[in-house]
Symmetry: C2
Subunit: 350 residues, 2 copies
């Protein structure tokens, strides 16, 4: 019982193979009556074209590559797996598959080249988060459409889907200022990641805008380290800031994971949150609403990032000559207990 092919459909419908192809691929002109007749046969026999044959004949694969660093996938899965989910949902609308792969810290062709690039098994590539810049350069030279999500190469012009990191952090600080906090610190890991950098800049700008130059400029308010943004860093950073005597009354964190470490450190030191020290995260991953106290944070619509990345990819595929694009995803401050003691406790989960 071999599977039904386009030939069978053509024979049964009494038309040529070419015409069936025109119908299944939804291109070219086919009379309504012919189209209908063919469509009926296709539905009846549950025909579905083989992707491999299409790819071989057309040169288009119908696949999008999705590259993530090992760390992001196994560590920060809470963030990027949702970006991936959004991408997957959007890709499905046009019958594209997403091929996921991870890359390590270093990138040396040809060994580290993702297999779907070697085999040219994708029409375009999405890169999410931090990756070695050599990989981006490699992609660039490949002439394959690609978009960077939540990351940028310092010198290369690329299609981008970015978060309003600057504005998000700005609003976080403004919120603290409105609540009367004045000695606002910053803890962040992985400051080589462009997003964290932007957040720090937004933080500084907001402080200056509020006349709090001291916190903005004084290094004793900041703990920045060139490592992945783990909760360990938040813990270490918080302890460090407390011990350095900058006497902060609140803290903005590079992301939620870092903020979790801050919460732990504050509990260890018997600080009340938010009375002694208020805490703000960034990302709004699921667990931000499960900590004790729950975490005020900057919400990032992760699904939307994946969706926009795929839409941008489709744009590039459909219009190869189009200009570079940047799509900026808005953030939204979510106020919870870690900055607002008056929010009543509840068992609600997201």
């Amino acid at each position: 019982m071999s599977r039904i092919t386009i030939k069978d459909i053509a024979r049964i419908a009494g038309v040529s193979v070419s015409t069936v192809s025109l119908v299944t691929s939804n291109r070219g002109y086919v009379s309504d009556s012919t189209r209908e007749k063919i469509q009926k046969v296709i539905t009846k026999h549950n025909y579905y074209p083989r992707q491999s044959a299409r790819t071989l004949a057309s040169g288009r694969t119908g696949n999008i590559g999705f590259i993530l660093s090992d760390f992001h996938f196994s560590g920060s899965e809470f963030f990027y797996s949702r970006v991936f989910l959004g991408a997957e949902m959007e890709a499905r609308k046009r019958d594209f598959y997403i091929l996921l792969t991870t890359v390590g810290d270093s990138f040396e062709p040809p060994v580290d080249v993702p297999r779907f690039l070697k085999g040219r098994d994708v029409d375009a590539v999405i890169i999410a988060g931090t990756v070695p810049k050599e990989l981006i350069e490699y992609l660039h030279e490949l002439q394959l459409p690609y978009v960077l999500v939540d990351f940028r190469h310092p010198s290369l012009k690329s299609n981008l889907v970015m978060i309003e990191n600057y504005t998000g952090a700005f609003e976080a600080v403004t919120h603290l200022v409105e609540y009367g906090y004045k000695r606002i610190g910053f803890v962040g890991g992985s400051s080589f990641h462009s997003s964290i950098k932007e957040r720090f800049r937004g933080y500084q700008a907001a402080l200056r805008a509020s006349g709090l130059e001291k916190a903005a400029e004084d290094g004793s308010f900041h703990y920045l380290i060139e490592e992945e943004a783990t909760s360990q860093i938040g813990f270490d950073g918080m302890i460090d800031l407390l011990d350095r005597g900058s006497n902060i009354d609140s803290i903005v964190c590079g992301n939620d994971t870092t903020a979790f470490g801050c919460l732990q450190a504050l509990k260890l030191r018997n600080k009340n949150i938010p009375e002694d020290i208020a805490v703000v995260g960034f990302d709004d991953i699921v667990y931000a609403n499960e900590t004790d106290p729950t975490l005020t944070t900057v919400h990032v619509p992760k699904l939307e990032m994946g969706i926009q990345a795929v839409r941008l990819i489709f744009d590039l595929i459909d219009h190869p000559a189009s200009n570079l694009q940047s799509r900026i995803i808005n953030t939204e401050l979510v106020i919870r207990e870690s900055t607002n003691g008056s929010i009543s406790e509840s068992g609600e989960s997201s």
Copy 2:
């Protein structure tokens, strides 16, 4: 600049296309000298066969489908995304791609059939976690090799990768008994999920084995609900058990997410953990080590589950006639603060 093909390699190496194919696919007999000569040309020109051509010619796709419920992917991503990662790592070893897709709560062919099944774009399928049983039945009829991970169809015989749910829960209870707890409750959502059911059975068996029949049999010690295992369920269940006056001194939870809800409820009711009530989770997701107190739980090696699933798939592909297999993954109890007050607080993260 069109890409290099097998023909080019053959021409340059001075051999036939067939021989090159024998080398790239690593099958059949080729003399060492010929093989070496061809390999050199391949390396020099960075040749990599096109998957689509291979698939079309051979009938093998080199892809494995991975099906996950929408809920599991977007909600319990902490668990199954690691299973996926393990599968991806293992698949890569044999140059297979994994095509991920999600399915909803209901399954009605042909609309809900994953596209990679319609298009026969996969050689085998992994199903992780709960899915509609109609989907499993559909796969069964398709004659496509498949393995179920952490789930089973009530009546269908399938290849399985399962967790030691029963034993894991048994050990969790035994641990509590050893620490002197006697009135041990159970909170679990989604008891239609076979894993949670097994855990409950292991819990009951351990109680009986310890002479604690009362807790095992008495419904006032249990909160079981036919819903997805969210933290909300843990919260509601804990409150319910406290109010029902079964006077429990400890609780075993269907999974970690549920346990997080229990922790919240206990805090709301000003119970000390573990002095008043000890809490044990199941799964050991990353955040089990970030809660306050950190969560004692049954560690499940998630990467290993994905790896074993793919190895089982390869077995099925290589030996189509092989018998059904079940691979059982061992668990390990991880003792943290929620059952052991003496563990010192620290900022360590996993």
